[in-house]
């Protein structure tokens, strides 16, 4: 076995294997770096930019930056927290994130990461886009107002479920999630709640129809403990307040 290489993350030595990203190595070492579009079960995407870290003085997304021996990586500095807050705030004003009216509140990764980075308000001017809700599927509800374009459902449906139910279309601020049917309706697809795509959304865009508010507000996944302690909602079993079907 070759000698293990390491880099330092906020002063702590983190070992890594060849080809590992900073995020993957940190995760394996039990160090949390906030993220949204990253899910360890999928190849990195690098779109949300919440996992930015400073690598040898230069800002990079930790989910795509290869780990290299001797790197000095900073993550939990006030400078980086402020940038992460800014990015979260952008996501909050871009869509319509009405937490008090969302079933996912309290078990939402977007919200939990925002708590983690200390976001108290969305700060920017709200876009209030007009986006549809799709209730055509017998078991699932799609609320496009909450989509942050992480493309996890797109990737899961295409690469794991083999169904290719979702896609992103358009460019720039007009980029948006769609359902791949002529009608654009989820009800016209073979999407099922047991699909991987139903379990990976970091927001409340994809919801189950037949259960709601079973766990009261105040006792939900991230209500008592932060996401760096609890873990990602997509990684936790439904019985524990997460999304994963066992």
């Amino acid at each position: 076995m070759s000698e293990e290489s390491t880099f330092t993350l906020d002063g702590r030595k983190v070992p890594f294997r060849d080809g590992q990203t900073i995020m993957a190595a940190a995760l394996a070492a039990g160090v949390y770096i906030p993220h949204l579009c990253f899910n360890p079960e999928f190849p990195p995407h690098g779109s949300c930019r919440v996992c930015l870290v400073k690598v040898n003085g230069r800002m990079q997304a930790s989910c795509t930056a290869p780990a290299m021996a001797g790197q000095v990586v900073q993550s939990e500095t006030e400078e980086i927290r402020e940038i992460r807050r800014g990015i979260l705030q952008m996501l909050f004003v871009e869509g319509n994130h009405v937490c008090p009216a969302c079933e996912k509140s309290g078990a939402c990764q977007l919200q939990a990461v925002a708590y983690y980075v200390g976001m108290l308000a969305p700060h920017y001017t709200h876009f209030y886009p007009r986006r549809p809700v799709d209730a055509s599927h017998p078991d699932a509800l799609l609320d496009f107002n909450r989509c942050i374009l992480c493309e996890l459902c797109v990737r899961a449906s295409r690469d794991v479920d083999g169904k290719n139910v979702f896609a992103v279309q358009g460019r720039g601020i007009k980029a948006h999630l769609v359902v791949n049917t002529p009608s654009g309706k989820l009800g016209a697809t073979d999407f099922s709640l047991s699909d991987k795509a139903a379990q990976v959304c970091p927001t409340g865009t994809i919801l189950s129809k037949h259960s709601g508010y079973e766990i009261p507000i105040g006792q939900r996944l991230y209500d008592r403990k932060p996401i760096n302690v609890v873990g990602d909602v997509a990684a936790l079993a439904v019985s524990k307040g997460g999304r994963r079907h066992d």
């Binding site: 319509n96 708590y115 709200h126």
Partner: protein
């Protein structure tokens, strides 16, 4: 040393008064608070005229002309202005009407009901005119502090007010930061 009490005003704009209910949930801590502050205009005092204040606490977003006037007055008279709760911070539930044209909202409410006679959209000058969208208050005036929650818990309000009155930076413990 005798300190003069800080003057605090509160109001609810386009909100549900839930944040004010949470304020009342301070329960016995209200007595401690009363040692340090004096309420000016507030639904709790029923004082209608806003005086010069040290702190203004705003619940609710901006939905109509009256909200705008009240908010501008608070900004002009209060040294420190605080956005309290989801509606003040992001428009909250009332801002869900931003998904629709104002025309559709008003017609749905006033002209499409069953059994209506001579149905029309109210146009009495006494009724504050609606803005086409509901906005959070930081889009209209400068806000100094944000206290999220729907409503923020009494504990969060207490932490916030205690730190503010003590002149400390605001650091809410994890369990007191909530958007719901």
């Amino acid at each position: 040393m005798i300190e003069s009490k800080l003057k605090v005003a509160t109001c609810s704009l386009c909100g549900c008064f839930g944040c004010h209910m949470s304020l009342l949930d301070l329960d016995e801590r209200l007595f401690d608070l009363a040692e340090k502050i004096e309420f000016d205009r507030s639904p709790l005092t029923d004082i209608k005229e806003l005086g010069e204040c040290d702190i203004g606490i705003i619940e609710g977003g901006i939905a109509n002309v009256e909200n705008v006037h009240t908010l501008l007055e608070f900004r002009a008279r209060c040294k420190v202005l605080i956005a309290m709760g989801a509606c003040a911070i992001s428009g909250g539930v009332p801002a869900m009407r931003n998904q629709y044209e104002l025309k559709d909202c008003l017609e749905e409410s006033y002209t499409r009901g069953t059994g209506l006679v001579d149905a029309q959209i109210p146009n009495d000058p006494e009724i504050p005119l609606l803005l086409d969208q509901v906005h959070p208050i930081h889009e209209v005036v400068k806000i100094d502090y944000f206290l999220p929650g729907c409503p923020p818990s009494a504990d969060a309000i207490w932490t916030f007010v205690s730190q503010l009155l003590a002149g400390q930076p605001i650091t809410l413990p994890y369990t007191q930061i909530h958007y719901d």
